[in-house]
Symmetry: C2
Subunit: 553 residues, 2 copies
């Protein structure tokens, strides 16, 4: 058994009704899903505390791991431990990847949320609802064409694919509609994993059921023969999709192993989408708690930028502080050390790699959000290495706190909690998105590329520039942009670690997510349907004689 | 608003905890899913009452409708009304068809179960779990081939398709694995609707989690190049599939509008599978109640035969009585009246059509189960027509009760309840399946065809006979057979109504469902992936401003 699993199994979770009551959630707002999970009716949670919003983000991820989720859990536990009423907001993990690589997405060590099996498996069914809503629209498109195609949809230009919450490479590209006239018109299409669905992004950005249906209706599924956009509303699919999502729209309440409340809700991809938990969960938490800890996907160049420029912009959220998570090991890799050599002390490499940390600090300041660095402590870190990170942070006028939440839970992150609370209460935040709504779409991409990625220029062919200009003209110019590039580098080249400058950001494709409310700029190969590895984790997963899940973590 | 919906919305359902308590379910066995649904842990329900098992079945269905589910609900309510502790066991409805034709599968009038929206939409996620488990196996097959195909699977002979709970004709036949080497080997395949999955049949026939995993492991997904069967266990998929199904294996508790307990669990197709709710639900109900009312799909020729020969045989269940549901309208159609002319009184047609009723009565007796006829009353039925049905029943030595459960709820089925209770307590049942386990597979098909369908002979090509003999030799000969044919006739010709004799049953294809534990004989065109109609119900489904679902019923 892994240590994470051992710790989780040794912890007796509290009845979810008790967690809800302590969090100040009225009983009428709590819909239990078993004994340890509940859905919360946001409309039954009155405006109350107007909490401080704290974003946990990270340096560029490396194979060494950063522990952003354990840090979020540890910080929330530490804030509660120090007497501050705090709620955690996280994304729901995707089911498919659990069968590829061992390990879920519920934290680790003494900084976990539970029940881990349920959260990583079907949980409360939200992702299955997204799958169903997405695929209903797909079925209605082909059904419309089959019965006469009154809308004159160009079947060659249908961009709406299907989704499954499964790592299944065989479905990436398919020909469907075979088998004769009764099965419709053959055409090329394929499947993405459910977290890549625009419906998932919509679920996470919608403010209420009416806004949800509105956004679903705006989804563009393709074009007519004369190149006009066709929407889900044109197909009259938006109402039924909203009905399929009505329960999924309610945030899920679970708990940390320390018994503190966590809303775990929604999980859009962090590359072709914005990678944050739902707006509804964050807003609900802000009404219930004095501090709300949330996280964004990948490193701050992608995750924090999208959190600020897409989620906060759309939802009118105002973040009060940001926590930038780093590890000595990951900074060493950013400083050029190979994964196999991470155990050896290398202060010079840490110092070189800290350039990545400093770049993220500078970037977070561009949004007017005060920053503190949380160094996630690993057993092999040397004092000299830690001092090197601290020196880099101090030179950037930022505090650094060494955190031991994995080993100690909230108690290992109390210093960080005090610092974060002071920062959030200090009133130094002057949040503003990076660019105004009315900047043309191409200029928005260029602004992110130059100011956040420090690219010298954006490379985009004339077709892409024409498309962006056409969307500007068609009334989509006010949307923010969502850049899909590698998470491993500030650049589009995953091998360019540290703090590269003067590179080129190549935009290969642009996509309109009119329902979610952003324009995606695809910069590099983005995989939207993963495959299983040679030896999938699924082969070892089973129920033991006591009915416990084995092999998942 | 439809009358069904109006009645349902006007009824205040009781908290599911109260329903569970009144049903004698220990609190520790109840896992709430919201306020009106719960999953029941069968292992926490002690052996107790050893109830009587009553099957509700019907004449061959016609477009006029029979109301088998309203009769099951009404009978359970009536048995409870007359002081008999009774539990209802029904199948879960499929999600996909809700978006095609308006109307769910939760009964009607004053004989409904609730909450109807939830039951017809995602309910407790069981079907989504079946979808995920089924598709995980599919992904592991293609993944195995992709990474070297150590088992030497013949990709041309993979019979395991994928499933979605959606009416989506475009997925019936596909080519997958396109897009280059990274996406695997292209091959033909396709999708069925989730209720057609063998995993669904397995979920409904498994006795406990260990049996579930065992059955999943026995699934045959295709053949090797040298024509040996390849199983899910060979692919090491059985454990992870069982984990995905661990919650789905627990029966769901809901209530009738009269507040009586109903276990609604599992929903296999009634043609290529056996069409009954889960064995676990039926067994759990028998431990809790003195009477258990359950139903089988389609008419008694398919549904009751499979209930007896597959479900009861495998699970060791002993039915005590059968209720055969008929309507004057459906008998008229069986007597040759067109749907448009049903409103006109036609006693002669009723008498002609009653041959269908009598044939089913004779068939049910072949299993040693005593029968009573429940005539589901419709407003337009004339006294003379009802008398004609009664005369036919009496001539067959069977009682007939006119039931008004749709209009009156349980009070409208009290006479039937008294008769059923007397029959079940009378000790006249001598249940035995139609054929012994050790009869060769072809002879089993022939036995059902001759004795139940009254076919003159079975037509099967030499390849089919060879295949059946090969399965006999390979150790599958002990399995029962599951005949997939039209539900509209005793024959394989849907236009042959009434009580045809001397017809030929053409077996077009045979399939081994080694996990479910039966051999399917496909006799005619069986659709395993429906399509949406020209104007799908989905177009009118939406949430109203109060958050209520509109347009689903």
């Amino acid at each position: 058994m892994t240590i994470d699993l051992e710790i989780a199994r040794a912890t007796t979770l509290q009845p979810i009704a008790a967690i809800a009551a302590r969090a100040g959630i009225p009983e009428a707002a709590v819909e239990p899903y078993g004994r340890l999970k509940a859905k919360i009716a946001p409309e039954a949670v009155a405006a109350g505390r107007d909490g401080r919003l704290i974003l946990v983000t990270a340096i560029n991820p490396t194979p060494a791991g950063e522990g952003k989720t354990t840090m979020s859990v540890g910080l929330a536990d530490a804030l509660n431990l120090t007497g501050r009423r705090t709620m955690l907001c996280l994304r729901e993990p995707s089911l498919g990847p659990c069968f590829g690589q061992k390990g879920g997405a519920t934290g680790g060590g003494h900084a976990q949320i539970g029940p881990m099996d349920d959260i990583n498996l079907h949980f409360t069914g939200d992702f299955h609802a997204v799958t169903a809503a997405h695929n209903l629209l797909a079925a209605m498109i082909d059904n419309h064409v089959h019965w006469g195609n009154a809308l004159d949809i160009d079947v060659r230009r249908i961009s709406w694919r299907r989704v499954l919450d499964m790592n299944d490479r065989a479905l990436r590209q398919t020909v469907q509609g075979l088998g004769g006239p009764g099965s419709g018109f053959p055409r090329e299409s394929g499947f993405d994993i459910t977290v890549a669905s625009e419906v998932m992004a919509i679920l996470c950005l919608a403010g209420d059921p009416a806004d949800l249906q509105d956004r679903l209706g705006r989804i563009v599924i393709g074009q007519t023969r004369d190149r006009r956009p066709v929407t889900a509303r044109d197909l009259k699919a938006d109402g039924a999709m909203a009905v399929l999502l009505k329960d999924a729209l309610r945030p899920n309440l679970v708990q940390t192993l320390a018994g503190n409340p966590a809303l775990v809700h929604g999980g859009p991809f962090a590359n072709i989408a914005h990678g944050c938990n739902s707006v509804i969960a964050t807003r609900t938490a802000l009404r219930l708690a004095d501090y709300v800890v949330t996280e964004a996907g990948f490193g701050a160049d992608l995750g924090a930028e999208k959190f600020f420029d897409i989620k906060c912009r759309q939802a009118g959220l105002v973040p009060d502080a940001a926590v930038l998570v780093a590890t000595v090991r990951a900074l060493k890799m950013n400083g050029g050390v190979a994964r196999a050599d991470l155990a050896r002390e290398d202060v010079a490499a840490v110092t070189r790699g800290a350039a990545n940390l400093v770049r993220h600090i500078e970037n977070l300041r561009l949004f007017g959000v005060p920053v503190v660095v949380a160094l996630n402590h690993f057993g092999g870190d040397s004092e000299a290495e830690i001092a090197a990170v601290r020196a880099a942070a101090t030179a950037a006028w930022v505090d650094l706190h060494v955190c031991r939440q994995w080993a100690e839970g909230g108690a290992g992150a109390v210093d960080l909690a005090e610092a974060v609370a002071a920062l959030a209460e200090g009133g130094s935040a002057r949040f503003a998105p990076l660019y105004p709504d009315d900047l043309p779409l191409f200029d928005k991409i260029e602004t992110v590329a130059r100011r956040i990625y420090r690219a010298e220029r954006v490379e985009a062919g004339p077709a892409i520039r024409r498309q962006l200009a056409a969307w500007d003209a068609a009334g989509h110019g006010h949307l923010p942009v969502c850049i899909a590039k590698t998470q491993y580098s500030f650049s589009a080249d995953p091998a360019l670690l540290g703090a590269p400058e003067g590179h080129v950001l190549p935009v290969r494709e642009v996509r309109l997510a009119a329902g979610a409310g952003f324009v995606v700029a695809v910069c590099g190969d983005i995989m939207t349907m993963p495959g299983l590895p040679r030896q999938p984790a699924a082969e070892a997963i089973h129920l033991d004689p006591d009915g416990l899940v084995q092999g998942l973590f």
